[in-house]
């Protein structure tokens, strides 16, 4: 039984992924499938809502890393929002705040995409 799930929502043209549970080497393939689905559907403005993400290991971080360049080359981004402090700490250990746009709330991430499209 998997203790991780990805929920899909859209906010206008922005794809929001709700992560829930524990993201490790066993469940990383589900995040990979979700990001691949975004690619297949040509959704490249992606907000990952980590409010209900309880745990992440390097296997989960690696999935974000494997997709970020491709999404950015298509003019999009993966913005990561609402991480719990213990999960943010793991992102921080590897220097991910340098590579990813990590913000406090989903609203902030959505606003950043909307501001960029108006500019």
């Amino acid at each position: 039984m998997s203790n991780f799930s990805v929920g899909f929502r859209t906010n206008n043209h922005i794809q929001i992924l709700d992560l829930k549970g524990e993201l490790d080497a066993h469940t990383a393939s589900e995040l990979e499938a979700a990001l691949q689905k975004c690619q297949d559907d040509e959704h490249n403005l992606i907000v990952v809502n980590g409010e209900n993400l309880q745990y992440i290991s390097s296997a989960g971080l690696g999935v974000f890393m494997a997709y970020i360049e491709e999404v950015r080359e298509q003019g999009g981004d993966i913005k990561i929002a609402a991480l719990q402090p213990k999960v943010y700490n793991v992102f921080d250990l590897l220097g991910f705040p340098m590579l990813f746009d990590i913000v406090n709330t989903e609203e902030e991430a959505v606003h950043k995409f909307e501001s960029a499209s108006e500019a």
Binding site: N3, E22, D24, A25, H26, Y55, S57, S58, A59, L61, G62, V63, M65, A66, Y67, I68, E69, E70, K86, N89, V90, D92, L93, L94, G95, F96, M98, L99
Partner: protein, 158 residues
């Protein structure tokens, strides 16, 4: 000085990683470590087991991994043994996440996380048994989860 040892044996499959984390968490909690320290143990042990499953056993789930949690007054030790391919630490260097992202590669991060989170990370191979030892001192000078830089020791000799 008190010392207690708790053991767990799991098949070499990622489907058992959650069980490993629960096992480590239960004894660390019983030993009254802080929440930050407990998170560090869970991640470090998860990373070590993931490396064994993926690299030592090459994804073959028919093998086993033996874990022992050793709780002493001043330290929390997790010893993990496998009989797969020996891990060579010689080639290890801090991962460059920008370089990895450019190459759309997703690996090589686990060892770095272990070294950041634990006070000691040691690899040994004796005969056909590989052993990784992870140690966190109870009153260590730093907690890496909060951004400190603990010292690491490693022995990459196969």
């Amino acid at each position: 000085m008190s010392r207690s040892v708790h053991t767990l044996s799991i098949p070499s499959s990622t489907s058992h990683l959650a069980e490993v984390r629960s096992f480590v968490e239960a004894y660390a909690r019983e030993a009254a470590f802080t929440d930050d320290a407990i998170e560090s143990f869970k991640i470090a042990v998860d990373e070590a087991c993931t490396n064994i499953i993926k690299h030592a056993y090459q994804g073959d789930s028919s093998h086993k991994i033996d874990l022992a949690v050793i709780i002493e007054d001043e330290r929390f030790t997790v010893r993990i043994r496998d009989e797969g391919r020996a891990f060579k630490l010689h080639g290890y260097s801090r991962p460059d996440i920008f370089h990895l992202a450019k190459g759309r590669r997703a690996g090589g991060l686990g060892v770095h996380i272990m070294r950041q989170l634990m006070d000691v990370v040691e690899y040994h191979t004796r005969g056909n048994v590989n052993e990784v030892t992870l140690v966190k001192l109870r009153n260590g000078t730093s907690s890496a989860v909060q951004g400190g830089e603990p010292t690491s020791q490693d022995d990459g000799e196969p």
